[in-house]
């Protein structure tokens, strides 16, 4: 009897100390964690549609979308966050659209488990980001034929060369840049599956956003 009590008491004390301690740590850590998540999200949105403030427009069926408005209130574009199946595991990404949602203006993969050194070229590298921020224009011009610059194809580097958001995008292999149509995306060499997965997710995200907005507009 005494032993049982001793055992129970020990477990209760250990449990209470653990629970109490952890809730203190959690109270301290939680704001930082939320802040980190918010920062990652806001930085991505700010990068995809610069110079505006995001306002959440849709949060439904795993799809989140933001309208990004400039200081004067004009609509500068849309950012859609959506996830889907990649080569190994889920790919979580953000797509930027123009205000009319007819063209794709950017793409940022937030999370993936693709093959290192291969499928991971779906991510924006620091070089890409520098190029897109205007740090090196030449790089951008030369870049698009190279398999390692897959995500750059989703950005507008010249007027009238955006990928279309109307109709499904398609992955093609080995086409010169001049011959690519407005719905054609060049595949990453030896990582066709990752390329197709990204394009599929983008297609589904755009279609789903249209459907949701149509429902909202109709209701």
């Amino acid at each position: 009897m005494k032993i049982t009590l001793h055992m129970l008491a020990t477990l209760i004390v250990v449990g209470m100390l653990s629970g109490g301690g952890l809730s203190l740590v959690n109270d301290w850590a939680e704001p930082f964690i939320e802040e980190n998540q918010r920062r990652v999200r806001d930085e991505a949105i700010g990068f995809l549609v610069p110079g505006g403030a995001p306002e959440q427009a849709v949060d439904q069926d795993g799809l989140t979308a933001w309208r990004v408005r400039g200081e004067d209130g004009t609509l500068k574009g849309w950012v859609v966050r959506y996830a889907g199946t990649g080569f190994q595991d889920t790919i979580d990404l953000m797509v930027a659209l123009d205000p009319d949602r007819q063209e794709i203006r950017g793409l940022k993969v937030l999370d993936d488990s693709e093959t290192p050194g291969l499928g991971t070229w779906i991510r924006l590298s620091p070089d890409h980001q520098a190029a897109l921020a205007g740090a090196s224009d030449r790089y951008l011009e030369d870049a698009v034929g190279d398999a390692k610059n897959f995500p750059l194809q989703f950005f507008a580097y010249d007027e009238g060369e955006h990928l279309s958001a109307e109709g499904d995008l398609k992955v093609v292999k080995g086409k010169p840049r001049e011959q690519l149509g407005p719905t054609e995306v060049q595949s990453i060499t030896a990582a066709t599956i990752s390329s197709v997965a990204v394009v599929d997710i983008v297609n589904e995200a755009v279609l789903k956003l249209d459907t949701i907005l149509a429902e909202q507009g109709g209701a």
């Binding site: 653990s18 629970g19 952890l22 809730s23 740590v25 959690n26 199946t85 080569f87 190994q88 595991d89 889920t90 093959t115 599956i193």
Partner: protein, 191 residues
């Protein structure tokens, strides 16, 4: 079809041992003999299935509603540890044959990261109850598959002239590496 996809993904594409590195300790420790490998595989599959169901209920009906998600690790490991003890007791009472086959492996399972990993992944992937169940069975099947293949190979290698420095864990790791290369063939599989 979606459930079948989850099963195949857990069993071969993202094989728990060879691709996700979960449950390596029993993989190295118990793969010396084929008979014990089969028993260990069965024991792990059984506990995985039970643990995934219980932790699903705890996560969705206690931790989330109470807003104490940060206690997840503590709660899960306690549940798994007591579950293993409970299963051991029940099996001992119900069937001596089964106990003889699985019994000695059960205590080893508490610190088997495959079980804990499975419960954490199921929560991370936001699976429903049925999906969690299929995920657990698939992961258990994959664990058993890897363990049985390895045990067959290691029994064969007992006759082989493996360099002394590589005997035991060394050659096990190398075989696992080659198996992992082979399992890469399943990458991206979709039905």
């Amino acid at each position: 079809m979606e459930l079948f996809g989850i099963f195949i993904a857990a069993a071969v594409i993202n094989n728990f041992v060879l691709i996700q590195f979960l449950g390596i300790c029993p993989f190295v420790g118990v793969s010396g003999k084929l008979s014990s490998a089969v028993s260990m595989g069965m024991a792990v599959t059984f506990v995985m299935t039970m643990a995934s169901m219980v932790t699903f209920l705890i996560q969705h009906y206690i931790l989330i509603p109470a807003g104490i998600g940060f206690l997840q690790t503590v709660a899960f490991i306690l549940v798994i540890a007591s579950l293993v003890q409970f299963v051991e007791m029940v099996i001992k009472k119900v069937s001596t044959g089964l106990y003889r086959a699985l019994g000695i492996f059960l205590p080893l399972i508490t610190t088997n990261c495959a079980i804990m990993g499975l419960c954490l992944f199921a929560v991370m992937k936001d699976y429903s109850f049925i999906q969690t169940l299929i995920f657990a069975i698939g992961a258990g099947a994959g664990f058993t598959l890897a363990l049985v293949l390895m045990a067959g190979i290691r029994e064969e290698l007992e006759l082989a002239d493996v360099p002394e420095t590589l005997q035991g864990a060394g050659i096990t790791m190398i075989v696992a590496g080659i198996l992992a290369l082979g399992f890469m063939g399943f990458a991206g599989m979709k039905f």
